[in-house]
Amino acid sequence: MFTRRQLTGAVAALSLLGSAGMAFADEVYIPLVSKGFQHQFWQAVKQGADKAGAEFGVKVSFDGPDNETQVDKQIDMLSAALANNPAAIGIAALDSQAVIPLLKKAQEAGIPVVAFDSGVDSDIPVTTATTDNKAAAALAADKMGELLGGEGKVAVIGHSQTSLTGIDRRDGFVNELAAKFPKIEIVAVEYGDGDHLKSTEITKAILAANPDIKGIFGTNEGSAIGVVNGVREMGAKVTIVGFDSGKAQKDAIREGLMAGAITQNPVGIGYETVKAALAASKGEALPKIIDTGFYWYDATNIDDPTISAVLYD
């Protein structure tokens, strides 16, 4: 009885979903497949996308896998989005190679593709709305170098070893330090998958292995919070530079525990992606890259209107 009732419920729910899907069929539909949706960063991107959707009168959907390693789930989401006959699609690829077969399919079906957040190693996307992550991480490196007076040991806690943003931020930071601050030594580069607790444990292990470490860079929100936690728990004196925002990171900067962080413009990324996708669906020409910008913020400018507009809790 119990299971039969459950089954009937499930069938009813499915049919509801089906009819809802069909109701949208004749609207201009732009699905965005993101790298995630639970992190505050992605929620801010979604907010921008929804804003553009309301402004231009298009139906926007936003979906993403649970964490930044689930390349397979993202591909499923992308093929589901393509099956819904969209006007154009937005994609923030977790693995820039893995999505190419599906993007080819989109191209053959005449569905323009707009990449956002990370680029894709292909010329299929008509444009990419993104932060220049290498330049942003290089700015983080410049600030770190200045704060340390140009010397000391530094570690990096990355959020991904495989995604383009993970690689760009790591390389942008490491290369800039090597080029401008030859006396700074990178002693460890580890990856915590953006998981707060994992990044905390990694930070503590790095501090245990290198008690004389002077600076740590966390490459996204979860990584940076992990660094803050680990340093706080060890009672270490370390210059921390973060990336993105979120309440915990903002608090750490106000408390002085974190020196500062790089923020992207996530709302802008979402907004520009939908705007570009709509333009592409009408056949308009677009620049190859839409740079959505980035900023350094610290205790001195965290409340400036330009900065607080792009920070999120």
Binding site: Q161, H196, E201, A205, A208, G246, A248, D313
Partner: protein, 334 residues
């Protein structure tokens, strides 16, 4: 309680003796790992780092202690990771959104876990859904609910003074300033001691083993097996609630997206500790040692700066070797 009368039963001592070898084996592996890492790096065996390792073991350890109970009954619980998160989220709702006092928050976390466990226990027994499936479903339901309740935003505990002390404060440090053992580790030891006592000294513990060895025989002897099993799932759920308190107080926030994957790490600790996945056999001390082995391994490999991708490979190999060594020992004993 009939505890006192039921205590001198035959099966329990036999099993405890059986577990002793495994505990010895697991304990020996732990010692070997610690000595190995200490030789490889002088940074490893420092008080600060040992405290870090213990603290890293606390959340996983508490989860593992809880799920040990269920695994001994021959069941499995895949929902513990997201259940932990869900308990943390509900605690956040009660403390931060409603402004309840700290103690109410603590009790809420435990009660939420117990309620979730009650639900999965009922699904397993009354609805006859296999534990793997019932808890897989619950894992997803709880994950979704955490995101829905929070609106995908983390809930912070800034307005509850003392909340972070649950995990990161140190009562031991007040007495022994040179060894500030984090409270989270105390909680782990306390939970392990209580559950170890329940498992070896009470009727509930005796039925936990009996259900895992031969559930049909227990039922035929006139015992209401469903009721006992539900109680075990509820107890394991309550322990998940404690893990929820530990992780959220450590992060000063309930992070709704965390939790997935934590169940497998806990199950790995249980298995390394010599508890049989087919049920009927296992010890809490073994699980505790299993959790410590996992924490020592991840910390040690990082302190040695082993490349991250190899850290994962080595951890996997150690899990397989630990269980294989246990198999060899049991074959010899048989």
């Amino acid at each position: 309680m009939t505890t006192a009368k039921a205590q001198p039963e035959r099966p329990a001592p036999v099993r405890r003796a059986g577990g002793a070898h495994q505990k010895l084996l697991a304990f020996a592996s732990l010692i070997v790992l610690v000595i190995g890492f200490s030789i490889a790096s002088q940074r490893f065996f420092q008080i600060d780092n040992i405290l870090s390792i213990l603290q890293a073991a606390s959340v996983n350890g508490v989860l593992a202690v809880g799920v040990t109970l269920i695994i001994i009954t021959g069941g499995i619980d895949l929902s513990i990771g997201t259940m932990m998160t869900f308990c943390a989220v509900i605690t956040g709702v009660v403390l931060t959104w409603m402004g309840a006092p700290l103690l109410v928050g603590v009790l809420t976390a435990i009660a939420t876990g117990a309620a979730c466990g009650l639900l999965s226990g009922t699904l397993v027994t009354k609805a006859r859904i296999p534990p793997f499936i019932a808890t897989l479903g619950l894992m997803l339901v709880l994950k979704g609910l955490s995101l829905i309740v929070t609106g995908t935003k983390p809930i912070y505990f800034n307005d509850t003074p003392g909340y972070t002390e649950i995990s990161t404060g140190s009562l031991v440090g007040l007495v022994m300033p040179q060894f500030p053992l984090p409270n989270g580790v105390l909680v782990l030891f306390l939970v392990a001691a209580i559950v170890g006592w329940i498992l070896t000294r009470t009727v509930l513990g005796r039925y936990t083993f009996a259900l895992g060895s031969n559930e049909e025989a227990v039922r035929l002897s006139g015992v209401n097996t469903d009721r006992w099993k539900i109680a075990i799932y509820a107890l394991a759920g309550a322990i998940c609630g404690i893990a929820g308190l530990l992780i959220s107080s450590r992060l000063n926030s309930a992070q709704p997206a965390l939790g997935l994957g934590y169940e497998l790490e806990a199950i790995a600790a249980v298995v390394i500790g010599g508890t049989s996945l087919s049920g009927g056999r296992g010890t809490i001390l073994g699980t505790l040692i299993g959790a410590l082995i996992m924490a020592v391994l991840t910390n040690g490999l990082r302190v040695l700066s082993v490349a991250p991708e190899w850290q994962t490979v080595v951890t996997g190999v150690i899990i397989i070797v630990a269980v294989y060594a246990d198999q060899l020992r049991r074959r010899k004993a048989a």
